[in-house]
């Protein structure tokens, strides 16, 4: 099976000072959810924007392979890219408040997608919009189409964003922190909806999040990002059963899980903060925060296999004691 999205050795730099993405590779297959997880500043959103061709001016993107279906995105013109975006390649952003235009009705914004890409009439496009709003669990879609974004709650707006992304039957959906701005109860509803739609429509879903709880519940495959690199990638089951990179292990111990840590005991934590990486940086970016750092870590770090389809970027052997503190 060929992947819907394939990227190899993607780099994004901003000027000569910041290297935001440093050689990441990943694939997303049809019907699969691939989670890109990491803390703020790790380059996960920049990766999404690089795929969509939406990087800010001044950013420089290179890749050995950046392929969506039969399209080589590194060679596609801006016009060709604009034709793909919102059609077979769709994206949902974190802030449903700011990604809808406040001056147009929901119906007009949704219909525009189909009018533009498929050249259908406004009436037909509105029918499709109403159908999709119903599909994402909005009652009385006819009324909602006539409303403006400010008349809708955050959860409803995010449902509108999702249905708008689905207008042209996309094959790849990139969702960048789609529930971060929402309440927990609404978050669960939106994620459940995404999961259902993804299964029914066979979507390839690239889900970007900082929340390992969401990753565990949604992902088929996971790529853990740190300072612009994928430091560990594995199937979701393998990653949570045997996290191998010291950063992944540290991150998992930071999460409070009801009933798992005694209240008078401290949570695990990772000292320090994510470094800013310049283009000439060498070695492991995590070494300043890692309890296992050695002088060798300042040189090139090997990418090793911890199992089938399970890789990590560290010089420690795959079997280093799982119980050991990072």
């Amino acid at each position: 099976m060929t992947a819907v999205l394939e990227l190899t050795n993607l780099h994004v730099t901003f000027g000569n000072t910041v290297s935001a993405v440093r050689g990441i590779s990943l694939e997303v297959n049809r019907g699969e959810t691939h989670c890109l997880v990491g803390e703020s500043g790790c380059g996960k959103s920049v990766t999404a924007l690089a795929i969509m061709g939406l990087l800010a001016r001044g950013a420089h993107r290179t890749a050995d392979v950046l392929r969506f279906h039969d399209f080589d995105l590194t060679r596609l013109s801006e016009r060709g890219m604009a034709r793909l975006r919102g059609d077979k390649l769709a994206m949902i952003f974190q802030e449903p408040m700011t990604s809808l235009n406040p001056a147009y009705t929901i119906g007009s914004q949704m219909a525009e997608v189909l009018e533009r890409h498929r050249g259908v009439s406004r009436a037909k496009a509105l029918d499709r919009a109403a159908e999709l709003l119903g599909r994402v669990g909005i009652t009385a879609p006819g009324m909602r189409l006539k409303q403006y974004p400010h008349q809708l709650s955050g959860g409803l707006r995010q449902r509108v964003m999702i249905s708008m992304a689905l207008m042209c039957d996309p094959e790849l959906l990139i969702a960048d922190e789609p529930t971060t701005a929402l309440d927990v109860t609404v978050q669960a509803q939106i994620l459940r909806l995404l999961q259902t739609l993804q299964r029914e429509l066979g979507l390839a879903l690239l889900l970007i999040t900082h929340d390992l709880g969401i990753v565990a519940r949604m992902a088929d495959r996971v790529s853990v990002m740190y300072a612009g690199e994928v430091v560990e990638s594995a199937s979701s089951d393998a990653l949570f059963a045997a996290p191998t990179h010291p950063y992944t292990r540290g991150l998992l111990r930071c999460i409070p899980v009801p009933g798992s840590v005694r209240r008078d005991e401290p949570l695990g934590s990772i000292p320090g903060t994510v470094p800013r990486i310049a283009p000439d940086f060498a070695g492991c970016a995590f070494r300043d925060r890692c309890a296992h750092a050695m002088p060798d870590c300042a040189r090139d770090v090997p990418r090793q296999a911890a199992g089938i389809g399970h890789e990590y970027l560290c010089r420690l052997p795959p079997s280093w004691p799982l119980s050991e503190a990072a």
Binding site: S153, R217, P256, V261, P266
Partner: protein, 315 residues
């Protein structure tokens, strides 16, 4: 015995007009909250956005006057204290360490300001107490002359905590203190808050939308819905046996990192709460999966059983 914080049927109403001709919207942000906290308790307050958590925090800090009811801190009415006295007793830590620190002041001046405002501390004493407090929260002395922009989010939140504690208050109101931080940094700050409470004998009011965080730090939890406490219980009891249907839905929404469990169906439907339009009867009834006819007309009274409060007709 004196409670650290006591609220007696506190209400706060906001009136807003969308335009000159528009009808007035009356928002009952806090709609009759009563509780009492012992010294050393950590009361976690959870609820969705718009439920009145932050308004409650501002009422307890004295930043907003109550429309009705009494707020007592250390056994005395907050309304009867002047600002300096209040500041010595109770201090805030806010969510966003990017906007809650003056960007043009050095760290040492930010932390020293509460002392300077008291007006009875010498410059030498102020310097010593600031440096002592910075050391306690894990900020190295060489950072004291930096500006907030030169610090990371976690370091800024440590500075905000140092500023809150420099007057040695008894009570700290933490309003979403870790929500703007990454998980690895969140854990550092939670550990620091727990350590400071133990060492300094503090009482916390801890507001968060993250139930897992509250479970970790709180001794008692209150669940707030449209301006009222619909359930309040010791933390273990609440997580072991949630009684209110809303509490159950909230707990079901916590996504722990356990693969294979999938995304739960919280069963709350599509309606969202609007504090300007509180439903008659039980305020939760439009979303409640267990709703019966009575709930639509009859407002539940809070029932106290085994030291737990629940406000639901079915419990």
């Amino acid at each position: 015995m004196t409670y650290a914080v006591e609220l007696r049927n506190v209400r706060r109403v906001f009136r807003a007009r969308a335009g000159v001709m528009a009808t007035e919207r009356v928002v009952r942000a806090v709609d009759g909250v009563s509780f009492a906290m012992h010294v050393g308790d950590v009361l976690g307050i959870v609820g969705e956005s718009g439920c009145g958590k932050s308004t409650l925090a501002r009422l307890i800090l004295g930043l907003l006057p109550a429309s009705a009811g009494d707020v007592l801190v250390d056994g005395r009415s907050l309304a009867s204290m002047d600002r300096r006295e209040r500041a010595r007793l109770i201090q805030p830590v806010f969510q966003d360490p990017f906007s809650s620190l003056n960007p043009r002041q050095r760290i040492r001046d930010i932390v020293g300001l509460p002392l300077a405002a008291q007006g009875n501390v010498s410059a030498a004493q102020q310097r010593d107490r600031v440096m002592d407090m910075l050391a306690r929260v894990g900020i190295s002395p060489d950072m004291a002359d930096r500006l907030p922009a030169q610090l990371s989010g976690g370091q800024r939140q440590r500075v905000a905590i140092a500023r809150a504690l420099v007057l040695r208050p008894r009570i700290v109101v933490c309003d979403e203190p870790t929500s703007a931080l990454d998980v690895s940094v969140q854990a550092q700050i939670l550990n620091l808050l727990a350590e400071l409470r133990r060492d300094l004998g503090l009482t916390y009011l801890f507001i968060s939308h993250n139930l897992a965080v509250v479970e970790h730090i709180a001794t008692e939890v209150a669940v707030m819905y449209l301006g009222r406490f619909v359930e309040q219980a010791p933390v273990d009891a609440l997580f072991r046996e949630p009684r209110h249907p809303y509490t159950r839905a909230l707990l079901a929404s916590v996504l722990t990192p356990e693969p294979g469990k999938g995304i739960p169906d919280v069963g709350l439907g599509e309606t969202y709460p609007d504090p300007a339009n509180i439903p008659p009867g039980c305020r939760f009834h439009p979303r409640c999966p267990l709703v019966v006819e009575r709930c639509r007309s009859e407002a539940p009274e809070g029932i106290v059983r085994d030291g737990r409060l629940t406000e639901c007709l079915l419990v």
